[in-house]
Amino acid sequence: MVEEESLRVVHCGGSELNFRRAVFSADSKYIFCVSGDFVKVYSTATEECVHILQGHRNLVTGIHLNPNNHLQLYSCSFDGTIKLWDYIDGILIKTFVVGHKLHALFTHAHAEDSVFVIINKETPDIFQLVSVKLPKSSSQEIEAEEISFVLDYVNQSPKCIAFGHEGEYVAAVRDFYLSVYFFKKKKTSRFILSSSRSKKHAKNNFTCIACHPKEDCIATGHKDGKIRLWRNFDDDKKYTYTCLHWHHDMVMDLAFSVTGSSLLSGGRESVLVEWRDATEKNKEFLPRLGATIEHISVSPAGDLFCTSHSDNKIIVIQRNLEASAVIQGLVKDSNIFTGLVIDPRTKALVLNGKPGHLQFYSLQSDKQLYNLDIVQQEYINDHGLIQIELTKAAFGCYGNWLATVEQRQEKETELELQMKLWTYNKKTQGFVLNTKISMPHEDHITALCFGNAEKSENPTLVTASKDGHFKVWILTDDSDIYKQAVGWTCDFVGSYHKYQATNCCFSEDGSLLAVSFEEIVTIWDSETWELKCTFCQRAGKIRNLCFGRLTCSKYLLGATENGILCCWNLLSCALEWSAKLNIRVMEPDPNSENVAAVSQSSVGSDLFVFKPSEPRPLYIQKNICREEVQWGVFVPRDVPESFTSEAYQWLNRSQFYFLTKSQSLLTFSTKSPEEKLTPTSKQLLAEESLPTTPFYFILGKHRQQQDEKLNKALEDELIQLPLTENIPAISELLHTPAHVLPSASYLCSMFVNSLLLSKETKSAEELPDDIDMEEEKESEDSDEENDFTEKVQDTDNTDLGEDIIHQLSKSEEKELRKFRKVDYSWITAL
């Protein structure tokens, strides 16, 4: 390991995907979404992340396809820049520095080389829509200072602004009014809905807006679930609107289909509604999407929709309202009550997922594996309903047992508790409910732990509760004469002076059980359930409790709410040492003696790694994040690392993951940032060479001719080709069955052109794209030199004398690729 590399905190677990509307690429093959400081490119077919576009230094707030070149993508960020990307290769093309904090980005085809952004200039709450002219320049970083004001006092959310058809007007909503700005007339019209406090109109607030792509029609969503369709709004007096009402709660987003024939709407009901012909009667539904629909977007080709949901997923939906793919990050909708648990069987991270579900998240592949439906009740997503919450989960006996606790509390006194014990059935490879215990305790369960002793024939589970008891559950042979079954029964109930039991944990060998009752820690013998001894530090309630491991198994650690960390020696029953540390999370490493503790201070969270045997920490990392860390866990590595540096040795056998209050999952990495870049650049491995089809013969040749034309103009290099070359292609066209051909009108002009231009052809069979790619790579990354030279050699080897490779300048090559893509897009669509 190279010493100078420092430990960095890195994000994992597919950070937020639902911050803004997702954007489809022109051919619907890719879908883009903002994710923290990055833009992620996903394949709609495989749900895989193809590229991560990184370069912004702050939250990315808006993305849009370049209307003039649909292979490029604009993105804007809080860091005040607009960046232009080539998303196919994941390359940053240009950066425009605007200087203000950018809140949203809009483009449309009719605004030549300018984009629209939302900024806030003076007062913090007033946002303006401005247009930014993007100067043309060859340099990488350009200052874009030409800002012209369009609309004032807009909502900062991009859902509240929409551009009308042909870019003639822009409509914005805020609170109770809709304002429309006409670019040609340079005039703003304003329509106000009644906002009286009477019940009927109290929820008239606008929430979102969409403009019809073909007609002068604006759809607005409202807080009371109504959708209003505005027409004739160019006239202040004659304007009309019609209402569509299905949603019973706020309309979260609206979108028109590409042709404008249908309107899509969604909200908290998690039902996607398609209004055909903008009438109330013609509705189609796609229900049970799992969580609140936050955004809806439509692919430019019109074949796909997608909805972003509050539980951090994007669902790709086909035109016939059938979900075809789910891009799912770490579910972040609900609170994480269960903490971070590791499934010993799959090594997956387990935590709260969808409501009532446990999500299994593979850290190795950074992907959600599945959601396990624990509650098994239809989830009704409605405001104000009190749901059953999954509060605790624990695995025992190498993943053979799973214990879950669910609760529902409507009022203070009405607590419903249920504990379920699931066994992993090897035959069917799934969990099977073994025992269901209703009201295992009379109050909230605060801790749940399995006795993970080696003797697995006698599994033990301990639950601690606020009712002042802890219960020991054991697996007993429950068989009567009818069936052979095992089930869990309560074996022992313990309490200590009516104090609330707050934590429990087993020692490594399972011989001792430590239960903390508020300020007091009690130690119980797990054989006889006798109280062995008590520790009391009078330093506040115990927040975390854990035994030391391996050589430190004689120590017990406890962290209190008053910011004291205590270490007791179990042999001498005395306090070994204590330290003043406000600890939020304390996690022992299952593979070593180390214990990681995250403390909270006013500045941020700090990480301490120490061995219980010595009070001096092994490793300290200050300020791992600004927020409060809620949970942490050590995940054993499959293959141990070999950090020689003493400070990092604690990471050799396990990796530490932690979850912050805003539910971002973080971990430590020593890899340099460049290494993280590789997924994007490694895609350049092999240039695409699609197989030839009859159409390729016809159009591909023509395309090459066009390319050659360009080449000729530029390099004046021309090789004559016999005139007969074209004839087989024509005959092929004539012999191809008509039903597989594109429409005649499409082919005609090209075909005629190809006949006309037949003289200026040449024999080069393929585009010199590879070379260009290499050039780009080279400019990008000088590390690649070896590769590059090798490749050149390769081409030399294969060069059988018929290929002449042309060196093109970058812009030409871009141009070429554009042409090529234009031709391809319909071939592949067939």
Partner: protein, 680 residues
């Protein structure tokens, strides 16, 4: 280092279809089935990740496939090369998959984009592609075919870099040396080529049949003292069609190599081989061989030098279905592929049929030579489209699961009798109970019924039925009695029931209370009656707490909502009923309780009666009663006449009894609080 061993695809046999795990973390498993579909499965969630049908899947089915190595290392500068062994974690996304077809073309499929990336045709093979190997570093691809040639492709340009004749017959398998400078090919003989010059470096006389798999097993030579040129001293492995031996060869410095160094024996033709590379001398090579018969053989061996005897496997893994019912016998489930996980301690097994395989991670910690895993794959046949999109798994919740609600034994820790003595007594009793044969029970029943015949008016009466039902545990009889709704009838029955039946009745009631709430409503009436009427009797029992512990817990949990109120209510009811009862009984005729045994001493009749009552009160138990009845059977017969005689006197005694019961009831008011407190 998973490699497709499926050199020969047999469409009929499930084993032997070309398949491979993705490199490094084995996140995916690609399988090209006989119907021409390529399916990629996620190993962690056992989910179909994607499916691809090549346009020419009917004419040119896929014959072999290989994952491209993750491309990370290619970019690193040489001084950082040490880190090659380190797992790259989430960033090493694998992408390209090379498919060789029966018509000689090679397809490169991008699993990230889910579409065909490129097609390698021009200048390539004109017959079936047998094996594809990616070069670890330079992005080259090697393929061999039935057309006797080996082709080196440049995947960047998708063009042929070099093509040479590999053998006089078809070339069936390839393998690239660990340092990337040599290539093994297998045709009629196994040849080792120098990649730079395309010259043959070594010949190995191979197998009699076409070699289906070739694989290097070590990356370092066994003797570390000698200078290492990258190839000399390395071992490699070969398996062939219809050959039950896997041969291990060593590349030696001397030119001629006749025989294999050693061999592994398996039960059938190997179709998929995976191994963990040994990185030093001490570390054994672990080898997992999937055979055509669907078994996996595991070998663990330190390679050093010759070994004449073929080695047998250390462990064999088989998978079978559970044999349901009597008829069906367990059937074997074929294993399609097996790959070592990166920790080298567990094995990913792919089994089932090729269109819906199950992927499971099996830990290899057992030392036993044969592992037989019982797996039920019948429900895997159901379409999983729904789960594929929503990714929700529903665990099984069937009625067999045990349900614990407050009050049911097991929900709360059982109240154990404090003195250990009682436990012994209990166990003794149990034993005694077990010893009772059915015949004997019937005997006692007969006697009972005889008695019933004797006094006809009582036969159908509830107390008798109840007592009989409790004794014989007759469900229907008990139902008949306990399901009555007539409150008066209940009262009278309870009043007249024999005292020894009180505890069994309570236990029966407890059992029934745990059932459906509707039936519990009826039972509550019974319970109330029993507790009010027989409170005094119960309070005298020494082992009341363990016997009625569950009932107590049940009651407590049921009345939790208004705990104090219901306690007060209960106490008041108890008081009032007993006061009224005592008033009533003055005028009522007493319920007759016939003594089962009358033991007459010389002294007066009254005394003896009292004594018997006491006896039964003190430690009257079901089993004891039975014991007694057993013992007393003889006596009974003898005494029968006497009993009949005494019956006449019973009427007289009735009044005496009345007095006695009244006494008891009056005495209850003292005992009562104690009883309640016990129950609290």
């Amino acid at each position: 280092m998973a490699a497709g061993g499926g050199g020969v695809a047999d469409s009929l046999s499930p084993a032997g279809v070309p398949c491979a795990f993705s490199p490094h973390s084995q996140a995916y498993f690609a399988l090209a089935s006989a119907d021409g579909h390529l399916r990629v499965w996620e190993t962690a969630s056992n989910r179909l990740h994607q499916e691809y049908v090549p346009s020419a899947h009917l004419s040119g089915t896929c014959t072999c496939l290989a994952w491209a190595p993750a491309r990370l290392q290619a970019k690193e500068s040489p001084q950082r090369k040490k880190r090659k062994s380190e797992p790259i974690g989430t960033s090493n996304q694998t992408d390209l998959l090379a498919l060789g077809t029966a018509v000689g073309s090679i397809l490169l499929y991008s699993t990230v984009k889910g579409e065909l990336h490129s097609k390698l045709i021009s200048g390539g093979h004109d017959n079936k592609v047998n094996c594809i190997q990616w070069h670890q570093e330079n992005g080259c691809l090697y393929s061999c075919s039935d057309d006797k040639h080996i082709v080196e492709w440049n995947t960047q340009t998708c063009r042929v870099k070099c093509k040479w004749k590999g053998d006089n017959s078809s070339v069936s398998s390839l393998c690239i040396s660990p340092d990337g400078k040599m290539l093994l090919s297998a045709g009629r003989t196994i040849k080792l080529w120098v990649l730079e010059t395309k010259e043959v470096y070594r010949h190995f006389t191979g197998h009699a049949t076409p070699v289906s798999s070739l694989m290097f097993t070590t990356i370092r030579p066994p003797n570390e003292n000698q200078p290492f040129d990258g190839i000399t001293g390395l071992y490699f492995l070969s398996g062939a069609v219809h050959d039950r031996l896997l041969n291990v060869w060593q590349v030696r410095s001397e030119n001629k190599e006749k025989n294999a160094v050693m061999s592994f024996t398996v039960t059938d033709e190997p179709v998929y081989i995976d191994l963990t590379l040994s990185e030093n001398r001490e570390e054994p090579v672990k080898l997992a061989v999937v055979c055509r018969d669907g078994q996996v053989h595991l070998f663990e061996h330190i390679l050093n030098g010759y070994c004449k005897k073929p080695l047998t496997s250390n462990c064999t893994i088989q998978i079978v279905t559970p044999g349901k019912g009597k008829k069906s016998t367990p059937k074997p489930i074929p294993i399609l592929a097996a790959g070592f996980c990166s920790d080298k301690m567990s094995l990913l097994l792919v089994y089932g049929n090729w269109f819906q395989p199950t992927i499971e991670r099996v830990a290899l910690n057992s030392k036993e030579p044969h592992m037989c895993l019982v797996r039920d794959i019948s429900n895997c046949w159901a379409p999983k489209v729904e789960t594929a999109v929503t990714k929700v798994r529903t665990p099984v919740m069937n009625s067999e699961a045990k349900v614990l609600v407050p009050g049911i034994p097991g929900h709360h820790a059982a109240i154990k009798p404090t003195p250990p003595q009682t436990e012994k007594v209990e166990s003794k009793r149990k034993l005694g109970g077990n010893e009772l044969s059915i015949e004997e029970r019937l005997g006692t029943l007969d006697i009972d019924s005889k008695k019933e015949k004797d006094d006809l008016p009582q036969t159908n009466s509830f107390p008798v039925l109840l007592a009989q039902g409790l004794e014989s545990n007759d469900f229907e009889m008990l139902n008949k009695v306990l399901q009555t709704r007539n409150l008066n009838l209940i009262k009278r029955t309870v009043l007249r029931m024999p005292l020894h039946a009180v505890i069994p009745l309570l236990q029966e009631l407890t059992k029934r209370l745990q059932g459906h709430p509707n039936s519990a409503v009826l039972m509550v009436q019974w319970l109330k009656c029993v507790l009010t009427v027989h409170a005094s009797y119960l309070s005298t029992l020494p082992d009341l707490v363990p016997q009625l512990g569950t009932l107590y817990q049940l009651m407590e949990s049921r009345v939790k909502t208004f705990q104090k109120l219901s306690h007060l209510h209960g106490k008041l009811i108890l008081l009032i009923t007993q006061v009224t009862a005592s008033e009533k009984t003055k005028g009522m005729t007493c319920p007759e309780q016939k003594a089962k045994l009358v033991y007459e001493e010389e002294s007066s009749e009254e005394e003896s009666d009292d004594e018997i009552d006491k006896d039964s009160d003190d430690n009257w138990d079901e089993d004891e009663e039975e014991e007694e009845s057993e013992k007393d059977e003889d006596i009974d017969e003898e005494n029968e006449e006497e009993v009949e005689d005494t019956e006449e006197k019973d009427d007289e005694n009735g009044e005496d009894r009345d007095v006695a019961s009244e006494k008891e009831l009056n005495g209850d008011s003292d005992l009562d609080p104690e009883n309640e407190s016990e129950e609290e």
